[in-house]
Amino acid sequence: MLEIKNLYVRAGGHEILKGVNLRVNAGEVHSIMGPNGSGKSTLAQVLAGRETYEVTGGEVIYDGKNLLEMAPEERAREGVFMAFQYPVEIPGVGSAQFLKAALNAIRKARGLEELDAMEFLTLVKQRIKVLGMDEKLLHRSVNEGFSGGEKKRGEIFQMALLEPRLCIMDETDSGLDIDALKIVAKGVNGLRSPERAIIVVTHYQRLLDYIVPDYVHVLVDGRIVRSGGKELALELEEKGYARFEGGAGAAAPARR
């Protein structure tokens, strides 16, 4: 479904990704781990289409199409979803209204009929219960006044609602306590399907106890230096990233 070939990305005058290669098939769950500054979030954002990042080389093929040539909203309509690390607030815009606009834009692109207000509300109320989220959050403006945990769970809720084909989770676990983490994982696991691919970008192994990946990749200094199965994550937990990093002075991730 997704093929990243030799991707080079620059931002703020620095080269961040230096030749990333990755292949993700439908039905698979991949985890991308790495130390701070390795380029994990950059990779996620570039896939989503954030224009502050400049692609200087390589290509990304999604479903046989050139992903990098598509505007972010086009990518979304083709089924690419990113759960943001820091979901932004949009005061004045009701969550329900926003979600309905998003869902209908995606449904339209899929040749489905748009949902009216009643149909939409019914669907949303069903789904929100699954994530253990309060219905009242729908009455608030998008992410306004949401706690960190509520924002992250909101991202997963949106993912469940929009039913994407490629889910990219950008450090969704950062800032979550164990209970919130379990709820998020439950939501994500509920979306596993042979037609769907999930990329979990994370710093810590902990999330992967609950969202067990098929493949783990280690991203260090803008390149994937090692790939393996889920055991690789445990190995990283035990031994740290140091041995993958060129040069001295690289800190190991904090132990829990």
Binding site: E73, A76, M82, P87, I90, G92, V93, A102, A105, I106
Partner: protein
């Protein structure tokens, strides 16, 4: 690498689609302002002597006045001698059948069909083209209820006692430079009179259309609501796209007696000038409502998206005890537009209440200034005011400024003032994009969310039009 904002800002804005000119034979008085011009205008309108005298008094007073400069808008000096003060279609109009079909077509193109079969049901329209009212629909039907809805010039002839009683009672001819000028050279506008206890069964509206070049438009509107009556009135306006600036200096006076209610809504869409600031209407308007009676209520709702420069403060004088004044406004400045707008609420009687909700949206290089005055006089015991003043900035080249004036002379007054400034950032647009929402839709969502408190106050038929207008005016501005 350009951000979404840069890319969007470079999109060509949609052309002002009301910018056409109507090719019709017009009677245009040569440019210049002097007593002869005023006598000519008065004669063309067949006005009574006392009205001509009033105009001349105003003109002579105007000659002694100096144009004010305290505003936060900038424009080159206006040459008052280089304006024509009267322009009207050549044919004298008695009935709709006699109206030049080109005129009817013009209004139809603007969405205001005047022909019998196509008239908007539920809305009576007075159509004003340059200096004259060309048609007023449903006049007879309203007259059956005792409601007078006609052109101001007609009212001066047919209902002189009413005009004489109320003209200048809310905005005296000495009030300010532009109101004084208007008092001397005003041409046409609407006159509404709602008799005691009558609830006007339809929306009354006036549509102002500037057509001739090098003219100014000086309309005068007077609305009187007798005790226990209700009227909802809407004004709309557009003008052709021209390189020159044209002056629009109107005066609107509202009088509400005991237990009466006047709801005045405006959707202002004068040509705003091109994206470099060339051309566009100067909209310098004095609008004031007098809540004369006990429990009277006047509310102003405005959506201002056009005009190169807007300078207006629709206000209320809360004279009657328990009277209520409200002001709801969305003012948009895009490209090179400037606005210095707000309201004045003067609390005079007891237990009066005022509400101000002002939403300013700045985009492009637009400069939006809110100037609000809340004045509580000594005798205004128990006065209450709530003011909410919010600014939304789109992109990083525009500006929002706030000048609140609060003057309280009675210790039992209660005032609340809230203000906020926010920005539509790249992050928010990208978040919407990543959920499948296009850039234009994202901006519309955010702007509509921002304005919804004001749109809620508009008569239903016009709320939809206002939302669309905001969308069109913002096109190509997103950033």
């Amino acid at each position: 690498m350009s951000t979404p904002i840069d890319m969007i800002e470079s999109l060509v804005s949609k052309e002002y689609k009301w910018g056409f000119v109507t090719d019709i034979e017009q009677d245009i008085v040569p440019r210049g302002l002097n007593e002869d011009v005023i006598r000519l205008i008065s004669a063309k309108k067949e006005e009574p002597e006392w009205l001509l005298e009033w105009r001349l008094k105003a003109y002579r007073h105007w000659l002694t006045m100096k144009e004010p400069t305290w505003h936060n808008v900038h424009y080159p000096p206006i040459d008052y001698q280089n304006i024509s003060y009267y322009a009207a279609p050549k044919e004298k109009l008695q009935s709709l059948d006699e109206v030049d079909p080109e005129l009817l077509r013009t209004f139809e193109k603007l969405g205001i069909p005047l022909g019998e079969q196509k008239q908007l049901a539920g809305v009576a329209v007075d159509a004003v083209f340059d200096s004259v009212s060309v048609a007023t629909t449903f006049k007879e039907k309203l007259a059956e209820l005792g409601i007078i809805f006609c052109a101001f010039s007609e009212a001066a002839q047919r209902h002189p006692e009413l005009v004489r009683k109320y003209l200048g009672s809310v905005v005296p001819y000495t009030d300010n430079f532009f109101a004084t000028l208007n008092s001397a050279v005003f041409t046409d506008g609407s006159f509404c009179y709602i008799p005691k206890g009558v609830r006007c069964p339809m929306e009354l509206s006036t549509y102002f259309r500037i057509n001739a070049e090098s003219t100014g438009q000086f309309e005068r509107t007077l609305i009187i609501a007798e005790p226990g009556s209700y009227v909802s009135y809407l004004e709309g306006c557009t003008a052709p796209m021209r390189d020159e600036n044209q002056l629009h200096a109107a005066v609107v006076e509202l009088i509400a007696h005991d237990d009466a209610r006047i709801k005045y809504s405006t959707i202002q869409n004068w040509y705003p000038g091109d994206k470099n600031g060339k051309g566009g209407i100067y909209n310098f308007v004095t609008k004031r409502g007098k809540c004369l009676g006990r429990n009277s209520h006047i509310s102003w709702t405005q959506v201002e998206t056009g005009s190169a420069i807007t300078w207006k403060y629709p206000g209320c004088m809360l004279v009657g005890d328990n009277s209520v004044g409200e002001f709801y406004s969305v003012a948009l400045t895009n490209n090179r537009q400037q606005a210095d707008t707000g309201t004045k609420m003067i609390h005079i009687g007891k237990n009066t209440r005022s509400t101000i909700v002002s939403k300013g949206i700045s985009a492009g290089y637009g400069q939006n200034t809110y100037r609000g005055m809340v004045k509580i006089l000594k005798g205004a015991a128990g006065a209450r005011n709530y003011t909410q003043c919010d600014s939304l900035l789109i992109g990083d080249k525009c500006g929002a400024h706030t000048f609140p004036y609060i003057e309280v002379k009675n210790s039992t007054a209660r005032m609340e003032h809230e203000a906020s400034t926010s920005k539509i950032g790249d992050d928010q647009i990208f978040y919407c994009n990543q959920r499948g929402i296009s850039k234009e839709d994202a901006v519309n969502l955010i702007v509509n969310g921002f304005c919804k408190e004001v749109f809620r106050e508009l008569p239903m038929e016009f709320a939809v039009e206002a939302q669309k207008l905001l969308g069109v005016s913002l096109e190509g501005s997103v950033g």
